[in-house]
């Protein structure tokens, strides 16, 4: 009885204050995301303006130095490389992903679900393991070098691992699902009658694709590009395992500051720059793709 009484009182209270009810239900999420996601970001931003103390701590002295250090060509090079690699990954995946998404959208219903599932599946499996698989293939004594030598294409093993090319390959491999899914979603919604109309009016397949299909699937192209660019620019595992010390990206720089270099303020600044790049990419995307609907699309 006691419990029922309490329940009725609670319900009455909530009926009088509908907002409190919504608030109550959302509270656990607000708490968790607020305290364990947003607040740490604020701490990180603060850290990036503090001076480093000896042995890894910080001193409560304000400084711009952690940001001005990025003028150093060494760090600028890392920033530029991150941009270049992420941009190239996005372009490569557009080229690979569009035809795949198109073919999946054209498949009959039963096959479509299977094909889609096979694209999504790797997304949920470990990046670390999928990247490691490429180490088996690309290293000097790896599968690819073995095959090429066996077929007498090359005499000495090629250096494939620890290059920018290896990073590109790894990122394209890991983020392919991110490109195919949004592209598929927009191609699938495409109004076929428009394609037929273009054909009736004499458009060749090439021009029809360029002038009708591509503009109509713009939202998918933008969403896919965003979803690939963002994790690529902040990637850590792929450049760490496949790039090594010779081809560092921002992610590796951040890790280095929190690991061996023990310069947390500088690491925070690098991380903050990374976060800014990501947010800029999101805002640019929203600008081009048009607000809220676009955000739904990206999901």
């Amino acid at each position: 009885m006691e419990r029922i009484g309490l329940r009725i009182r609670l319900l009455k209270f909530f009926n009088r204050h509908p907002h409190t009810k919504a608030f109550g239900i959302l509270l656990p999420c607000m708490f968790w995301i607020g305290v364990f996601f947003l607040l740490p970001l604020v701490f990180m931003a603060t850290y990036s303006f503090l001076e480093r103390a000896l042995y890894g701590g910080v001193q409560l002295i304000f400084t711009w130095e952690n940001y001005t250090r990025f003028v150093d060509p060494l760090y600028l090079k890392i920033l530029l490389r991150s941009f270049r690699i992420s941009f190239l990954t996005t372009v490569i995946l557009l080229i690979i992903g569009y035809p795949m998404a198109y073919r999946i959208a054209m498949a009959d219903k039963r096959w479509r679900n299977i094909l889609l599932f096979l694209v999504v599946l790797p997304f949920w499996t470990s990046d670390l393991i999928r990247t490691y698989a490429w180490m088996l293939i690309l290293r000097d004594t790896g599968l690819l070098n073995f095959l090429l030598q066996y077929l007498h294409v090359i005499k000495k093993p090629l250096t494939l691992l620890y290059t920018e090319g290896a990073i590109l390959l790894g990122l394209a491999y890991v983020y392919l699902p991110f490109m195919v899914l949004p592209l598929y979603a927009s191609i699938e919604k495409l109004d076929r009658s428009l394609l037929e109309a273009a054909e009736d009016l004499g458009a060749t397949p090439f021009w029809r694709f360029l002038k009708v299909t591509v503009p109509l699937t713009k939202s998918g192209i933008l969403a896919g590009s965003l979803l690939v660019f963002i994790p690529s620019v902040g990637a850590f595992i792929v450049p760490d395992l496949l790039g090594g010390a010779k081809a560092m990206m921002i992610g590796n720089l951040v890790q280095l500051q929190f690991g061996p270099s023990r310069n947390w303020p500088f690491g925070s600044a690098a991380s903050f720059i990374l976060m800014t790049i990501v947010l800029l990419a999101v805002f640019t995307y929203l600008r081009f793709a048009g607000g809220k609907e676009a955000m739904e699309e990206a999901r």
Partner: protein
Amino acid sequence: MKRGDYLKPLDWFTSAGYLFLYLPICILIAFSFNTSRFSVVWERFTWEWYGRLIRDPLVLDALKNSVIVAIVAMILSTIIGTLTAYGLYRYRFRGKSVFDGILFLPIVTPEIVVGISLVIFFVMIKYNLGLTTIIIAHVAFDIPFVMLIVRARLQGMDRTLEEASMDLGADEWTTFFKVTIPQLLPGIIAAALLAFTLSFDDFVITFFVAGVGATTLPLKIYSMVRLGVSPKINALSALIVLFSISLITVADRLQRMRV
């Protein structure tokens, strides 16, 4: 229009795309059964590397940690994420779009940023790094995913059933537990399985918030990879990939299920 004209080359291209996605994983699994330790040449089939795995106390310890973390993170994030999805579906309030945007943030924020900001946070509040901090971090990145999956299910739900239940005199509480939740159940279980997988497989964020004592399987793999490629890593990776694939397949089935 002749269908085959452009679909034929597309077929080849798409098949190549799938080969690209799956061949490396297949190679990894195949080499976990090869007797040769260093070479890529196939020698003989063996279970030896799997045997060495289950006899390695460090691997077993990491497995135990991973399971604990993934289960606790799954339970917490499923409860919180489901409540959030329901709240956002059911109520309109000022600042809802801001709330939505904030939930979108953990998904787009690079993992490394999440990891180092949390480590700064825990060090500043002087909380010792360990299993608890790993769980806290995992719940934070699982919540938005659970929310999205349950929300998709809610949007496809038949709302008249809820109304019928209320009309027949059930209060909101009873309606939620007896009508809404059962209808959402396949979606909730699917979300839970995916949250488990995400948590079980996470490396980057865990790497930063783990501290010294708490090693999970991905951390163990990473430390082994640092020492070089080995068939033992292949075996461990193969097991984890196959385990993830089975969980995801079940989750996918559940998501497609109609009530």
